[in-house]
């Protein structure tokens, strides 16, 4: 539909656009008041803690202690490995639960029912004490040992946390798989792709957008849940800190120290999660969200407060 207009169209006209509006912006007085109030409360809380009967000097003394650093490394390893078991197990269980085969879906249902329904601490003790039921572990010619020697604290911790996590991850993954439009599966099948290829190439990559955020939550949860494995004599951050606390006579201080380390690791993990989410947003949004760095820059420009 082309309408003939004379050649002095908007392009040719002088750029005498409308003048920018000069108006007094709405003042957000409430923001200033609440910011002052919040800072005031924070300062008074910090002051109260600094005046308490807590030996703050002990924390920097031990912050980079070898035992604490060892504990941090062990905690991170344990988190990483048990999450790996959890995620792989979770995807397998989710696929099993959504299967049309009644046997596999029932097995998955039962697994999830059991591992979600019992406390993880009890599960840890169960693995630790399974020697009461199976005295030996016997894998024919490959391996034979007493259960109590085989089940080291590390293996107990790994199995206990990982298998428990798999049950939770299964539900997260199932939600992710269900979130992908059925038309995607149909289109893939119509092209001659097999079930497993459809899952791997088409459905799971799209499900990841739904799976990643709650999984980030699970990782952070796991990081802190690892403190439970001190109960089965595994030396991770929490166990190391409480041991130091008992020998150095500043137990509460050492718990604060451990908490500070958990906060540090959590912060690092949150940044990682953000980039992972950006990766899986590929194709779903027209422009990728800003990186935390870009966000920080924007937040630091004072205009955002006044706006």
């Amino acid at each position: 539909m082309s309408v003939d207009i004379d050649k002095t169209g908007p392009q040719d006209a002088k750029p005498a656009g409308p003048e920018a509006i000069k108006a007094i912006p709405v003042r957000h007085y409430g923001r200033y008041v609440s910011a002052v109030l919040a800072i005031g409360i924070l300062v008074s809380i910090v002051y109260a803690f600094s005046q308490g009967r807590i030996n703050w000097g002990a924390i920097p003394d031990y912050f980079f202690d070898d035992r604490i650093l060892d504990g941090v490394v062990e905690t991170m390893w344990l988190t990483l490995l048990s999450m790996a078991i959890g995620i792989i197990g979770g995807i397998v269980l989710a696929v099993m639960r959504l299967s049309t085969n009644p046997v596999t879906s029932s097995i998955a249902w039962f697994y999830i029912w059991f591992f979600r329904g019992t406390p993880v601490l009890v599960q840890l003790f169960l693995w630790f004490n399974l020697g009461l039921v199976f005295e030996y572990i016997n894998l024919g010619p490959f391996y034979k040992d007493q259960w109590s020697d085989f089940m080291t604290p590390f293996l107990t911790a790994l199995l206990g946390l990982g298998l428990n996590e798999a049950a939770y991850m299964a539900e997260i993954c199932r939600a992710g798989l269900l979130s992908v439009d059925e038309g995607q599966t149909e289109a893939s099948h119509a092209l001659g792709m097999s079930h497993s290829k459809t899952l791997r190439r088409i459905v799971i990559p799209q499900a990841m957008r739904v799976i990643v955020p709650p999984t980030g939550n699970e990782v952070i949860n796991m990081l802190k849940t690892t403190s439970l494995v001190s109960a089965v004599q595994y030396y991770e951050l929490f166990k190391q800190a409480s041991d130091i606390g008992q020998t150095s006579g500043s137990p509460v201080e050492m718990y604060f120290l451990a908490a500070a380390w958990y906060l540090v690791v959590t912060s690092v993990l949150s940044v990682g999660q953000y980039y992972l989410e950006r990766h899986y947003a590929k194709g779903s949004t027209r422009t990728l969200p800003p990186t935390p760095f870009q966000k920080l820059k924007a937040a630091l420009s004072l205009r955002s407060l006044a706006r």
């Binding site: 038309g183 099948h189 092209l191």
Partner: protein, 254 residues
């Protein structure tokens, strides 16, 4: 007499207690453009989906290029095909959906390359080369690197056609390919389909585009409530319908 590309004999399909197809008989010859029209709920999309076994028929016989869909016949008995055998047959049948169903996490080019690389084990270089040619053919050579969310509906549907063609099918199924498009974008998609028809592709098209059916179609079937009401040359059926049901439908859509 050549083998028909698609042959349906008394095809029935039920979802639970609801019978959607109540005995469909039709034949589609090779190189034919076969149009299916009818009101929504008449079973035309369901029938189309039966042809590549996205739905399983519950009665009758349906064959593509002389081979039964979903079954193997041996000694007078029918054996259900395994999933892998069904997948093998689907390679030769391209399908284009109303809602495009492009893979949103892949670029247009990757969408077209996916099946040849993953299913036919073609090398990426070969697949990429042909994918570029196909995108060029549907007029989207410059959109190869775009994700589906960055394309208009008409562009997405043309990528979807290129994706189906990448498997070099002998039969193309179109399930209301222009129904989800803005009116001004319909023409581009129909042009691509017209080009395909001229190249001799066998096509079954479920459509509401009567103009396309009249100009491009070789045969036309009007379906209603799970049965074929009327069939024949598109120009004859559309201009001079014999049944009252066809007349009343056409008076509403033309």
């Amino acid at each position: 007499m050549t083998t028909p590309m698609v042959k349906a004999e008394n095809v029935h399909k039920s979802f639970g207690h609801v019978e959607v197809l109540k005995g469909i008989d039709l034949e589609v010859a090779p190189r034919e453009v076969f149009c299916l029209i009818g009101p929504s709920g008449s079973g035309k999309s369901t029938f189309l989906r039966c042809i590549n076994h996205l739905e399983q028929i519950s009665g009758g016989r349906l064959s593509v290029d002389g081979e039964l869909v979903g079954y193997r016949e041996k000694g007078g008995k029918l054996y259900e095909l395994k999933d892998s055998e069904v997948a093998l047959k689907r390679r030769d049948i391209g399908m284009v959906f109303q809602r495009f169903n492009l893979f949103p996490h892949m670029t247009a080019l990757e969408n077209v390359m996916e099946a040849p690389v993953q299913v036919k084990r073609e090398s990426k270089a070969v697949a990429r080369e042909r994918a570029r040619k196909l995108l060029d053919r549907v007029g989207l050579a410059d959109k190869a690197g775009n994700y589906p969310s960055q394309l208009s509906g008409g562009q997405q549907q043309r990528v979807a056609i290129a994706r189906a063609l990448a498997m070099e099918p002998k039969l193309m199924l179109f399930d209301e390919p222009t129904s989800a498009l803005d009116p001004e974008l319909v023409g581009d998609v129909l042009d691509v389909m017209r080009g395909l028809a001229e190249d001799g592709m066998t096509m079954i098209v479920v459509t509401h585009e009567m103009g396309f059916a009249r100009e491009v179609g070789d045969s036309l079937v009007f379906m209603d409530e799970g049965v074929v009401v009327e069939s024949g040359n598109p120009r004859d059926v559309l201009t001079n319908p014999q049944h009252d049901r066809t007349k009343s439908f056409l008076s509403k859509v033309l």
